[in-house]
């Protein structure tokens, strides 16, 4: 168990180190001159020289890379070229949108998917089952950003229940803040709920076929007792694994959805960083998002190992 976790931790650290090398190489080594990239081809030579000094581009590549990593370790992400403020404060600001957005979407997809999956499994190969599977097929096919636009049309433009976009800060009005995250979360949750409903259904069906379920039935345990007392607890293990992976997808999806709803989150920050050629923001935020993806996957592995001892023998 400890050995398995230690090996996984080492591989996570190696992946993160490689990711930082890739990000640094793509943004600071391959373009030749990041200052030119930031200012464009029309820039004056003295402006360029000043920015090169500010970005430390007069130093050797390895020194710059190590300086960047050293800064990251003490939460010094450098200063944004467009906003003129420390990137760490931008991130701290924006994460207050993206984290609740992804969390709410996760919650919604579980609340929608698990009951649907159980319902489908209980009605195996009947109308209810086909209905849920049809919903899942359609849910997976619909692009989340289009679903977001449709939700804006329905609930903001026609019914007027929600605003079409934008975000009310938490400290101004927590209820309004939550309300401005509702439609974006729902848009993000649809695809993931569809995937999760399929996984839940398959897991419940698999567990219902186990020998001990037959034994429980033979002993006269009611169908509800079997399902909620025994089956669900076992069936939720694969659901948990996929649920964790889905969190990584939600983070990636948030990059697009935040642009649909004009939410000032991490996704919009990195997107604007790209369009405004703010190398410092892009470099740090891209690495941060990939670090979140890798960390969530690692935590899922840890949780999985704790809940289900079986895979450890294989690992």
């Amino acid at each position: 168990m400890i050995g398995f976790l230690a090996r996984r931790l080492v591989s996570v650290l190696v992946t993160l180190a490689l990711a930082s090398v890739v990000v640094f190489t793509v943004l600071e080594v391959l373009p030749g001159d990041p200052a030119q990239m930031a200012l464009g081809t029309e820039a004056q030579e003295d402006t360029l020289a000043a920015l090169r000094r500010e970005m430390g581009l007069d130093r050797p590549v390895l020194e710059r890379y190590l300086g960047w990593i050293g800064g990251l370790l003490v939460l010094d992400f450098g200063r944004s070229l467009t906003y003129g403020v420390p990137v760490v404060s931008l991130v701290a600001d924006r994460i207050q949108v993206t984290a609740p957005l992804a969390g709410l979407a996760m919650l919604m997809s579980v609340v929608i998917a698990v009951p649907l999956g159980i319902f489908a499994a209980r009605n195996h190969q009947r109308v209810g089952d086909y209905g849920v599977m049809g919903f899942a097929q359609v849910g997976i096919a619909i692009p989340s950003f289009w679903f977001g636009i449709i939700l804006i049309l329905l609930f903001a433009v026609w019914l007027g229940w929600f605003q079409a976009g934008g975000f009310t800060p938490w400290r101004e009005d927590p209820v309004a803040a939550l309300k401005s995250l509702f439609l974006p979360s729902l848009a993000l949750a649809l695809t993931e709920a569809a995937i999760l409903a399929r996984v839940t259904r398959a897991a419940v069906l698999d567990t219902l076929r186990e020998d001990w379920v037959r034994t429980a039935r033979a002993k006269g345990v009611s169908e509800n007792g079997i399902l909620y007392g025994h089956v669900l607890r076992n069936a939720l293990i694969p659901v948990l694994t996929i649920g964790g992976l889905i969190f990584a997808f939600l983070l990636a999806g948030a990059l697009v959805i935040e642009n649909v709803f004009y939410l000032p989150g991490i996704g919009r920050l990195v997107y604007q960083g790209v369009t405004q050629r703010d190398v410092v923001v892009v470099k740090n935020v891209v690495l941060l998002v990939s670090a979140m993806v890798v960390t969530v996957n690692f935590l899922v592995d840890v949780l999985y190992a704790l809940v289900d001892p079986r895979p450890k023998a294989r690992a």
Binding site: S11, V14, T15, L16, L18, A19, V22, V23, V26, L27, L30, P31, H124, M133, Q137, V138, I140, A141, I142, P143, F145, W146, I149, I150, I152, L153, V157, A202, L205, D206, R209, A248, F249, L251, A252, L255, V256, N259, V260, V270, Y271, G273, V274, T275, R277, V279, V282, V286, V289, S290, A291, V293, V294, N297
Partner: protein, 278 residues
């Protein structure tokens, strides 16, 4: 696999029908569209659907149906090239990793971990920051992701085949490793790869649409479904129908490919169907 079994499989049939329709629409667009897709006619802007403009016109007076037809070409070609590159590089890598094991396998696994640390949208943003927006860069981002997907899927499937007796017998009888891979392993993993290609194709179309929506994919005036949705969002309050058609085009195409992939998986491996309990 008999013809009658294929014909009795509804999801395969519906998927094949949808996919074929989209393919035909894209092919016809090479020789004919109702209007030139880029033709701007400000006088005819925001026309609702009619006998002349079947799906209406956009804010430049361009014919939406013609743009959807050419958009299909762009979506399908970006998806096909990205998945093609993914297979061309990923499959050999996966086969070699499965055969060699040891450090080769470790390097391939590390590479996949690294790629999966960057969701396709994120690597597309990174590539755009470096090279600027464009269809080629979108293809590059989606292709890199698919290289890792195919390397991993091929490796897993090939490991199973390599453990089987007939392959071990072939190796013991002196057949070379490369020839064993080509003659015995590849044909036995081909089914898995075809199914994966269909699913990856659908995912690639979704990714391309998202990137074009953000302005990082196919560039105007070349029409793309994602770009059409971004434009439609600006006029959503007065002209809501503009936001419906391109999204439907994406969803129906992806649905068709996913149904086709599911159907093929069932038909190629009936045991899988039993295990999934469908």
């Amino acid at each position: 696999m008999t013809i009658s079994r294929i014909l009795r499989h509804p999801s395969f049939l519906i998927g094949a029908l949808i996919t074929a329709t989209v393919l035909v629409m894209a092919a016809v667009a090479f020789v004919w569209t109702p209007f030139p897709p880029g033709q701007v006619r400000i006088i005819a802007r925001f026309r609702p659907p009619s006998g002349i403009n079947w799906l209406g016109t956009d804010h430049f007076g361009r014919d939406i149906f013609s743009m959807i037809m050419v958009g299909a070409q762009n979506s399908l070609s970006v998806g096909a090239v990205a998945v093609g590159i993914g297979m061309a590089i990923g499959v050999p890598i996966g086969l070699i990793a499965a055969l060699k094991r040891g450090w080769t396998d470790d390097v391939v696994s590390r590479f996949s971990d690294l790629v999966f640390a960057f969701p396709a949208i994120l690597s597309a943003l990174l590539i755009t920051a470096w090279l600027g927006p464009g269809a080629v860069n979108a293809i590059l981002a989606i292709a890199i992701f698919n290289v890792a997907v195919f390397a991993r899927v091929t490796r897993g499937a090939a490991l199973q085949v390599l453990g089987r007796e007939f392959v071990r017998a072939a190796l013991a009888m002196g057949r070379g490793p490369l020839s064993t891979l080509l003659v015995h392993v590849l044909p036995n993993v081909a089914g898995t790869l075809i199914v994966q290609a269909t699913v990856s194709f659908a995912t690639a179309i979704l990714a391309e649409a998202a990137l074009s929506y953000l302005g990082l994919g196919v560039q105007p005036p070349n029409p793309s479904w994602g770009r059409m949705l971004a434009d439609a969002q600006n006029h959503m309050f007065n002209r809501p129908w503009l936001a419906v058609v391109p999204g439907l085009a994406i969803a129906v195409t992806v649905l068709g490919l996913n149904l086709l992939g599911d159907g093929m998986r069932d038909l190629l491996d009936p045991r899988m169907r039993e295990r999934r309990g469908d």
